[in-house]
Symmetry: C2
Subunit: 191 residues, 2 copies
């Protein structure tokens, strides 16, 4: 272990992380705004909560506070280019659905929708938020999970032999999983 | 998009995620307790904050509240077995460092230490915590980043051609990255 890179922010040490494309209804445009996020984590199982970290400067932050709800769309590695294009635009300037010809599936429990390309998407209602430094952690309760067939096994585990999830590495780079590296060292252990 | 799996918790949709082994000083044993966590996210860059979600029932939760600090060790895919062994034991019952012959590096800004096998490890001081459902989000400020040489490129991005990070899939299963899938669709875009 070297002392090189021992400054506080020398590295994007917390990547790779799955990309979740946040979708929020944009009533002024009668559309849905989409923006990629990777600072996301499950927060609880009962009730099922997750947190998405967003800058207060973003249009997505503004829309979530206005609607109190959002969706998350998880895409495969082959959609890296689409995610980059969605991330490059700001919803303040353009309707991304129109500009990028995005195909949107209507959500069931929220006003917005999710990306048709998603292998899994969830609908969330905003239940709380916390300021953390220069960001806001939006806490959502999962109301619906939409999954393509055969994406998860019967135990709910992603079938990486079928799906190569898109993972963000930092610096505009993405990577995917190698399903030949699937291991289960001990059936009973769960970190 | 099928309606199959549309229940609220039908799938571990938020995996794969990097495994962070949380290390906290255990003064009663003059040791460091280690436990794998995957419900973790960056929360801010200024100051550099991250959040780790833990059950109040865990020994790690107890130790972090007592010491006000923790480390995170990130391991390569080849250490999946070690992580599973660490996760299988409880620090309430045993000193895992002794039981598993763990090699520990002494931290610089906190009392505890991190795993010698880590390709990157960070030291954090606890700055706040939030109850989220049945869990606690421990918010740490990053005080030090220790990285092996040549693990990150000059932009701070993980070199997946050299390091295969350990990713948790749920259900006791792990996977790794495929570096041949590294892509950069647009140099300027960052989700």
């Amino acid at each position: 272990m070297s002392s090189a890179g021992s400054e506080r922010e020398a590295a994007y040490f917390y990547y790779p992380r799955p990309v979740a494309v946040v979708g929020v209804v944009d009533p002024a445009r009668s559309s849905v705004n989409f923006a990629p996020a990777t600072w996301m984590t499950p927060l609880a199982t009962d009730p099922p909560l997750l947190g998405v970290c967003l800058s207060p400067a973003t249009y997505t932050h503004h829309l979530i506070l206005a609607s109190g709800e959002f969706t998350l769309s998880f895409l495969e590695h082959r959609h890296a280019g689409l995610v980059a294009r969605i991330g490059r635009l700001s919803g303040r300037d353009v309707d991304k659905v129109a500009a990028l010809s995005l195909e949107v599936r209507r959500a069931e429990t929220v006003e917005g929708g999710f990306l048709a390309e998603a292998y899994v998407a969830v609908e969330c209602s905003l239940v709380s938020r916390h300021q953390t430094g220069d960001q806001t952690l939006m806490v959502g309760e999962v109301q619906r999970v939409h999954a393509e067939e055969d994406v998860f096994d019967r135990g709910g585990v992603l079938r990486v032999d079928r799906i190569c999830p898109l993972l963000y590495l930092g610096g505009g780079r993405f990577v995917g999983t190698d399903h030949s590296l699937l291991v289960q060292p001990d059936p009973g252990s769960t970190p």
